[in-house]
Symmetry: C2
Subunit: 223 residues, 2 copies
């Protein structure tokens, strides 16, 4: 009866993946270690190998997790549909920013990832893009979503959560020390370069940039 909440759940493939994602959230992907996870479960490193065949498979499972249960609402136009896919994808990746890059390697290798890919490809083909363009745009869509997530918090993702504030301030201080004569624009954009006050706005902006690029490509193609 003295079971404290969420402390040391049973070892299973699922709980291992969850723990790995949590560690990555807090301290970056590099902190995700078979041995570290084992310690957190109060178990021997080798115990994990019963549930997961090796570390690569664990990382793959972490990547797969971003695609399960994704519900893309349908829209009227193909462009709005594409945007909806990006929105859902970005929302999913935001849950575990540091692990987001793992998703890109798994879109075409997991069932739910493939379903999302199929939907995206079908949409672009129907819009009139040829196979090469469709493939390139779809690939770029996935990569763009990951990029938005990882560029946001920036490289601070590898830094432990508590140190991120200090890390950001140090970065800003370095830019502030730059001569305004040689780097006027950097100095001018200092605030927005080092701090993102509105995360959601940044993601919307990035999605719009991508979708807009696709739209323009489509216009040019039919013109």
């Amino acid at each position: 009866m003295a079971r404290t909440a969420a402390a040391k759940p049973d070892l299973s493939r699922e709980t291992i993946v969850d723990r790995a994602l949590a560690i990555a959230d807090a301290e970056g992907l590099a902190a995700v270690t078979i041995r570290r996870i084992a310690v957190e479960f109060g178990v021997t490193p080798m115990a994990l190998y019963w549930h997961v065949s090796n570390k690569d498979e664990l990382l793959a499972a972490m990547g797969d997790s971003f695609f399960v249960g994704l519900q893309v609402p349908s829209r009227d136009g193909w462009l709005d549909e594409l945007r909806a896919i990006m929105v859902v994808l970005v929302e999913s990746l935001r849950r575990h920013p540091a692990s987001a890059p793992l998703a890109a390697q798994r879109v075409m290798a997991s069932e739910p990832g493939l379903e999302l890919a199929e939907r995206t490809l079908a949409l672009l083909l129907a819009a009139g893009f040829n196979q090469t363009q469709t493939s390139d745009i779809a690939r770029t869509a996935m990569q763009t979503a990951v990029m938005l997530i990882t560029s946001q918090a920036g490289s601070e993702l590898d830094v432990p959560a508590e140190q991120r504030e200090a890390h950001m301030l140090a970065k800003r201080a370095a830019l502030e020390a730059l001569p305004a004569s040689k780097f006027p624009s950097v100095r001018m954009c200092l605030q927005s370069l080092t701090d993102c006050d509105d995360e959601q706005a940044y993601y919307d902006f990035g999605i719009e940039l991508f979708v807009g690029g696709v739209a323009r490509l489509h216009d040019r193609r039919t013109a």
Copy 2:
């Protein structure tokens, strides 16, 4: 006089960085190891620490290398200028695809990187974007360039050069095994999804997609 060409050059910060980039090219970033580099120079691991303070500094130096000596030709319109920057950046990153991600972490932290950033920011500010938009677009520009490089060869960058062909074929075989009833579009795009027959065209396409997105954003803003 029996000095075979390019075999075991003297140990120095520069030759160490070059070797590290070469190893990454051949076997991926993960293969870049202090100990591995030491072996290739026929020297003790600790010997490297005289020239480079630690591994992070080595990775930083690898990232910095992409920006040195970049010459961006000037263009008439701001949009063409932005495109020219992207072209030069992509060309530089292509030299060492697996190490390209290191560049993104160094744009705002190295002298030549900052010069490129300054130029890009100035250009966007002059075009009428506000500070937030300018920062976001410039950041996206850098990330997009890296993304184009890394998404191209795909995750195969971590795979030793000789095994990449086999790796790609295995990937294609997996997609070919997919039921055409459930994944018609994936099957239809199979060729272009797994093989990039024209690298240059892919980069041009990606750059156009980005530049086009920026252009559309600018149009909307002034409309």
